[in-house]
Symmetry: D2
Subunit: 96 residues, 4 copies
């Protein structure tokens, strides 16, 4: 079993990760708002494709044009480098 | 503003709607489990397409291979015929 | 059966429709290039959602990061206002 | 540069690969017909997710409820084991 990152390590990582939070120090979260459901679903599909490549999957919540993402590494019981990697890739999908 | 369905009306509707519940009498919910994330996302895209046609959108939660659907009619403050219509169409997507 | 638009009518319509062509006067075509397959598929899903709403569907060809769209109205044997409507909506999906 | 498979090798591979053809000995092709556009797009998204994992992508053509898949390994100038691998995975998506 892997060791999860400490609160200090997570805080350091978040300095370079635009838009994400770690309120509970056990997961990374980001909430995004799109123009409409169409754009939100297009984004979710792109996240799913990126997640499959890493074999690491965010929890997703979709409410019309809003998408909530929650990242954690279940077999470590907290946040690991895998979550930061996926979060960075998800941010990369948002570049215009 | 539309009038939401009563608990009795919802219970009657659910008799013909396989797999859905209405624990709080304010929304219809169904939870589905798929083989993997790939199959879950394929289903979510199909739900999104059906929802766009009706211009009525479920709240969706995706956790790896599980998808939770919550249907309610916000401007009625509860469940209406629109929710039953979308729920039936979603069930139709599950037919083999 | 509907009457298809004439070559002159199509040419006039194309003046206001960025990026589309009608080489054969029987269909509207646009080819788009994205950063990668991920972005191309996200776009295709959004096109499919828009198409379902209109119940009018483009032919789609996807080659890695390129997407070719072909629009025509089969029961008119050519281009109609429905094709221009869908083409405008597809262009709307591309706005940053 | 990799060596493409010979016509004999391809023919042997196809014996275990339901639904695929290799008319030109340079690509594997399969055409699928779904109930409607909704089901076709759900399938295309699933193919795209599987393809990203392998970093090997089919050419896709979608005409309403029909999906044409063309697999070849461009840097080998023909068919390789990668194409058979992806074709098997795509077949796996079709299991009920």
């Amino acid at each position: 079993m892997r060791t999860p990152m400490t609160a200090v390590e997570i805080a350091e990582g978040l300095e370079k990760l635009k838009g994400w939070k770690a309120d509970d120090d056990r997961s990374l979260t980001r909430e995004l708002k799109f123009a409409d459901h169409n754009e939100a679903i297009g984004f979710v599909v792109r996240v799913a494709m990126a997640a499959e490549v890493l074999d690491h999957h965010p929890d997703l919540r979709i409410v019309y044009n809003r998408v909530e993402l929650v990242l954690s590494t279940h077999d470590a019981g907290g946040v690991t480098a895998k979550d930061f990697d996926l979060a960075q890739r998800i941010n990369g999908l948002l570049r215009p």
